[in-house]
Amino acid sequence: MSALSLFYAALFYFATAVLVIGLGIKIRQYSRVPAPLKIALTPAPITPAGVPWRLAREVVFFESLFRASKWTWLFGWMFHAALVAVLLRHLRYFQEPVWSVVSLSQSLGAYAGFAMVVGLAGLWARRFIVDRVRYISTPSDHLMLALLIAIGLSGLTMRFVLHTDIIAVKVFMLGLMRLSVQPLPADPLLLLHLSLVALLMIIFPISKLLHAPGLFFSPTRNMSDNPRESRHIASWAAPLEK
């Protein structure tokens, strides 16, 4: 058990805790704050059953973004879709035996890595080329894209150029899941990739990545349009009638 392996084990336990607990706190907050008024953006589903379809169209197709800006949609959707494929491929490090869908996604996931970086690069380029987007971009906006691109590039380099000992990486990850610290290869590219991923996990609940759970709590998208048929009243408003 080298100091390096211990350090990265501790880092991942910490990052996982921050991610899970942090997201848990925020999701709990979003679910507990009331939505006192019916503010669905119309046209909207007229029954609660229609809401999951609306949200699904947003999550799967990025419907509103498509209407807003085809270029932003192209790069944004490409990045997210590729990310899903890449994450699916990465499940191989955390399962034994792996699910069949994971083994089937191996070649797709590898090339999705390129699509992911191209999507991110397009999004980053916009932050320089389009004056409106340049105006609103903070340092954290640029750094977030840099972080994701660095994760993508370091991963692609390991996959296609400078191979790392992926068997040992899987042993390390499975070990973490079973609370046993196994040796981690001291490959600089691997360590960079893992450090950046841990950083991403840590900043997730304190950054704009909260858009991921946030969408599901957005009242303009998750409320049904039936205010005349059903009386909607918040717990803090009901006492006003007494």
Partner: protein, 512 residues
């Protein structure tokens, strides 16, 4: 007039997304409400001592009361999908009129005081202290938003800048920095019953005058009843309908529809205002207080149905919020709401829009029209933002688009829609909504109207459109003021029921 001079933007053949011009409208702001106006609403009379801490505390309170505010403060990723969608940005080029940037004026303070990153790394995430400069910036730019929700259509997460604007105005009101126009009007509703301050005797006189006018014009005794107990329908309409042109022509249209259908109805001097400016200032309490007047009038007069006249934000409030605020609707099981629910006729939707009412009568063959009476008009329809993006009519989603258009097509022969990306849920705000319909904000009103004017210009050129119908009192007032600035005739704008009034057959009328 006290306003500084400004240049009306030129109409372009094709809409163009402008480059940003920082500070273009930073000089704009509405008159601040005086102590009397503020105190009438229970707000501090002027900027209070310790306003900074109080404002931050108020923000914290609102973050715990409104999910929309909390989620929208966190969810924005600065993608810029909204950045070219706001009519005020398109008309002024001021980057703080981009919805994302407008939200950031509040978000930067939210981050500073309520988030980890903002507290410890403010420079990284664009967090900022709440200084006097920032407060003044809020006062300026949160009164350059008409709360039209167009940005929310295009945001991947549905972030609604209107919710942020309402919160900002609520915070400012709570520390004594209120807007004269909206706050004064709300005070008038509490004192007199309507936005224009028309007291009951004046209202009665106006209605009698209208009865005479309609009799002279048609030979028919069309009534405009006031405070009639036991009438079937209580009509609640914007007070501008009693007083302004072209609004009054729609009021005449409603009266003719009731007459032709043989349905008894009444207006109420207590509930003589459909509009609810409590919405604009983001105050639940004020909005509720105004809405309760309708409940009380309905209970007092014993009506069976409540119908709302042509008013945009009034319909938003009536359709979405009256059930919540005043128990007007269905589907409740608490004593407060059941009281009125049991009185109203639940075979009909409560409340109902006058367009739903008229459309239903048309579909059942109750009303007849001489469409050729509107042949001098080539008509287009402007979807008002609160109707389009914050309400519904009829039984299906999107009925708020089809029902008014179906009425127009039933009473007139010539109709052309404007470009698809400027109508229905992508409609451009008239530029005067959300509490901005005041001359101290004329510059932003005129510039904000640019996208709608360009869309109108296109159908004027292509189809010789000479009439733009709409169903909102604010739109009608805004357009009559702004159309001439762009070279159009102010008589081009009118109501849907104005067209109905022209063509409707009233039965026993004198021969032409």
């Amino acid at each position: 007039m006290a306003t500084a001079s400004f240049e009306t933007p030129r109409l372009k053949e094709y809409p163009v997304i402008p480059l940003v011009k920082a500070g273009a409208t930073s000089h704009l702001k509405p008159f601040v409400a005086n102590e009397t106006i503020q105190k009438n609403l229970g707000f501090p009379g002027e900027l209070v001592e310790g306003w900074q801490e109080k404002a931050i505390a108020k923000m914290g309170e609102l973050l715990g009361k409104y999910r929309s505010l909390q989620v929208y403060m966190d969810a924005c990723v600065h993608c810029g999908a909204c950045s070219d969608k706001c009519h005020y940005f398109l008309g002024t080029q001021d980057p703080k009129n981009m919805p994302v940037a407008r939200q950031d004026l509040l978000r930067k303070v939210y981050r500073r005081y309520f988030t980890f990153a903002g507290k410890y790394f403010p420079w990284l995430v664009g967090a900022a202290d709440l200084t006097r400069e920032v407060l003044d910036e809020w006062y300026s730019y949160y009164h350059q938003c008409s709360e039209c929700r167009r940005c929310s259509v295009f945001c991947p997460y549905g972030i609604d800048t209107a919710e942020v604007t309402m919160a900002a105005r609520e915070i400012m009101d709570s520390v004594g920095m209120g807007m004269k126009y909206s706050n004064e009007i709300i005070g008038k509703v509490h004192r007199i019953g309507n936005n224009l301050g028309i007291p009951e005797p004046a209202l009665e006189d106006t209605l009698l005058g209208l009865e005479e006018d309609v009799k002279d014009d048609t030979g028919v005794d069309v009534k405009f009843p006031l405070n009639v107990k036991g009438a079937e329908v209580l009509l609640v309409t914007p007070s501008a309908d009693f007083f302004s042109e072209p609004h009054v022509d729609s009021l005449i249209g409603y009266a003719k529809v009731f007459h032709a259908a043989g349905i008894s109805w009444t207006l109420s001097s207590y509930a003589s205002e459909a509009a609810n400016f409590g919405l604009f200032i983001g105050s639940y309490e004020q909005m509720r207080k105004v809405a309760l007047r309708i409940r009380e009038a309905a209970l007092e007069l014993g009506v069976k149905r409540i119908v709302v006249g042509e008013c945009g934000h009034a319909w938003r409030v009536a359709y979405n919020f009256w059930n919540t605020l005043a128990g007007i609707g269905a589907g409740a099981n608490d004593p407060f709401a059941i009281q009125l629910q049991q009185q109203l006729d639940q075979r009909y939707k409560q409340p109902m829009h006058i367009c739903e009412f008229t459309h239903d009568l048309i579909q059942r063959g109750v009303l007849q029209f001489d469409k050729e009476k509107n042949d001098d008009r080539i008509i287009t329809f402007h979807d008002s933002c609160n109707v389009a993006r914050a309400s519904r009519m009829g039984d299906e989603a999107g009925g708020q688009f089809t029902i008014p258009r179906d009425i127009i097509k039933a009473v007139a022969n010539n109709f052309h829609d404007m470009a698809p990306e400027t109508i229905c849920d992508s409609t451009f705000c008239c530029g005067g909504g959300g509490g901005l319909l005041t001359d101290d904000l004329l510059e932003i009103r005129v510039k904000g109207a640019l996208p709608r004017m360009e869309a109108l210009n296109q159908v004027v050129q292509e189809h010789q459109v000479n009439f733009m119908a709409c169903i909102c009192a604010i739109c009608k007032a805004q357009f009559t003021k702004v159309l001439p600035q762009y070279g159009f005739d102010m008589g081009m704008v009118g109501g849907v029921h104005q067209l109905v009034s022209k063509a409707i057959r009233l039965g026993n009328k004198s021969p032409d």
